[in-house]
């Protein structure tokens, strides 16, 4: 297991820092259904943390708790050393947590460039009147934001579709644009909800490469959900395994792979 507070350097030379986010005894219920039951885990700065589990295990619910779309009945969310009060999703975004969605939530009518620009909204501080009058600070901001956005567009290799309305793009590219928008926010924590869902092998490889590059180049902390075990094991530093709303495993891919509960959950177990 990793040391509690100490930062360390991985085999491939990336630095994993202290605890960035901590979920403490989270319980989430919908009416009588318990989606998440008493789950505790942490995410450390600079790591790629995966949450895996079979369908209906509560992975997406967990991501929605982190991003403020759901509010747990019990438990605490700690972010950057502070206990986080109950927050709306847009407030969470302003704290530096960006996300993508399982079913892609892009602005279909807007161009790729405009979509990625919306990712910069949390960095735009000019007030409504300055914006309306298009003066000084607002203009400087717009230029600075544009530069950052172009950098990300280059990085994710979507220059050729900058002006294309997102609605016309194929699925794989949409996923990449959504990643670009989340990255544009320069998030402290990036949440990816099944970034590889519905992709073919080639697209999956591309996406894996981008996720690793993002983590490597920008040092972005990433928490991702996936149910393709192979992909997760290659990508992540540590893995949380969920089943029926409970945590059944937590550790490095190797540790998790040899965990009997995890094997049972994935392969099924005979009750005799």
């Amino acid at each position: 297991m990793l040391d509690e507070m100490q930062s360390h350097v991985t085999e491939d030379g990336r630095t994993i820092g202290g605890v960035l986010m901590e979920m403490r005894n989270i319980t989430l219920r919908f009416g009588g259904v318990v989606a998440i039951k008493d789950i505790t885990f942490d995410i450390r700065e600079g790591e790629i943390r995966a949450i895996i589990g079979p369908n209906g295990a509560g992975k997406s619910s967990m991501l929605n708790v982190i991003s403020g779309f759901y509010h747990p009945q019990e438990g605490e969310v700690w972010f950057r050393g502070h206990k986080r009060p109950s927050m709306k999703p847009y407030q969470v975004a302003h704290q530096g947590i960006a996300r993508t969605f399982q079913n892609i939530a892009l602005f279909e009518g807007m161009s790729v460039l405009d979509n990625v620009m919306t990712g910069r909204l949390t960095h735009m501080k000019a007030g409504i009147f300055a914006q309306a009058l298009w003066k000084g600070r607002a203009e400087e901001e717009e230029v600075a934001n544009r530069e950052q956005v172009e950098k990300i567009i280059d990085f994710l290799e979507i220059q050729h579709i900058r002006k294309t309305p997102v609605g016309r793009l194929p699925y794989g590219l949409k996923k990449r644009v959504e990643l670009a928008r989340a990255l544009a926010a320069e998030p402290k924590l990036l949440l990816l909800d099944e970034p590889m869902a519905g992709m073919n092998v080639e697209e999956k490889e591309d996406m894996s490469r981008f996720i690793l590059d993002v983590n490597d180049e920008f040092g972005t902390t990433i928490a991702l959900i996936e149910h393709d075990m192979g992909v997760v094991m290659d990508l992540s530093d540590r893995v949380v395994v969920m089943d029926y709303g409970r945590k059944i495993g937590d550790g490095t891919p190797d540790e998790v792979r040899s965990n009997q509960d995890v094997i049972d959950a994935y392969l099924g177990v005979s009750h005799d």
Partner: protein, 331 residues
């Protein structure tokens, strides 16, 4: 027959001017519908309320004077001052912003995620409520609204164009108010388009119109954007209220211009700002031209139904309107 020909042109010009006013009202609908999916039945009443408030403030009327007097037995009606038009317009805008906030805070915040029909019903309720509040605040008598806009025929245009025709043609007859209204509408649309294309708030507005969940995830407060949109719609209602009020007085029938905006929206599409403009112009011109050409054959008064029949035809062949987003069902 040059005189008839020029008369037809004059009919078209006047149709365009009337169409601009329809567009103004339709614009208010489009703003709210795009951002929140709410068809705001109260848009017409908002125009009436804005115009009443403007007149009330300009004349120094005491709000809720009748109510106040009835309770306390006093006889207060006026503060006894006159407020300059420009300042009064600013104050009225402020009132519309407060109204937008209140609508969001007390009505739609409680209805997030409800069916469109329920939101629509809420706006019907809002329309009647606002109408009542307007009467209670400013009285229900017919008021004249004069913010200093020029009125009556433009003699300059008449003189300049008189040479075109023969002896029975005296130049185009165009109301100056219509010209001002057209100018104001064009500026308003240009500003709105620039705002939505190039500013942070505009981008956020378009984002909310497109996808609520995605908008939240990039840090946009839906509540804030909805208040902004209702405020803009309130301002557009004020502008429409000023133009229509100056033309035909501030009275209950002003709220019925909303009904005129319906065919405009069906024609232009509920989600398109350019659609609202072009739709308004087509209806304005079509109405006048139809009355001019066909009216005499059927006994006149075609203006009352022409717009609706035209909208019906559009609905049959292009249900999303001329400019609306295409409706695609994925199966």
């Amino acid at each position: 027959m040059p005189a008839d020909f020029y008369f037809a042109i004059e009919v078209i010009l006047n149709g365009l001017m009337a169409g601009v006013l329809y567009s103004l009202v339709a614009l208010g609908f489009v703003l709210i519908f795009k951002a929140s999916g709410i068809f705001n039945y109260a848009q017409g009443v908002m125009a009436l309320f804005a115009a009443m408030t403007l007149v009330g403030i300009m004349n120094g009327q005491v709000p809720f004077a009748h109510l106040f007097n009835a309770i306390f037995g006093t006889e207060i009606h006026y503060f006894g001052w006159q407020v300059p038009a420009l300042f009064a317009i600013l104050l009225t805008t402020l009132v519309m912003v407060v109204f937008a906030w209140a609508v969001q805070r007390y009505i739609f915040r409680h209805l997030v995620g409800q069916e469109p029909i329920i939101l629509f019903m809420a706006t019907i309720g809002l329309a009647y409520f606002l109408e009542g509040v307007g009467d209670l605040m400013w009285g229900s008598d017919i008021k004249t609204l004069d913010v200093g806009l020029p009125q009556g025929a433009s003699f300059w245009i008449e003189e300049q164009t008189a040479f075109l025709g023969g002896e029975d043609f005296f130049g185009f007859f165009i109301d100056q108010l219509d010209i001002v209204a057209a100018g104001v509408a064009i500026v308003l649309v240009a500003v709105l388009v620039a705002f939505s294309q190039y500013t942070k708030q505009g981008r956020a507005m378009r984002a909310v119109a497109d996808d609520h969940q995605a908008a939240l995830s990039v840090g946009i407060s839906l509540n804030y954007i909805w208040i902004l949109v209702w405020s803009l719609a309130g301002f557009v209602a004020l502008v429409a209220g000023i133009m229509w009020g100056a033309k035909s007085g501030v009275q209950f029938s002003l709220s019925l211009i909303a009904l005129k905006a319906l065919p405009v929206l069906m024609l232009g599409g509920f989600t398109s700002i350019p659609g609202a403009i072009v739709g308004g112009l087509i209806i304005g011109v079509g109405e006048q031209l139809f009355e001019f050409l066909v009216g005499p054959l059927v006994g006149g008064a075609t203006e009352n139904w022409f717009a609706y029949v035209l909208a019906l035809l559009v609905l049959v062949f292009r249900p999303q309107g001329l400019f609306g987003e295409r409706i695609i069902e994925r199966v």
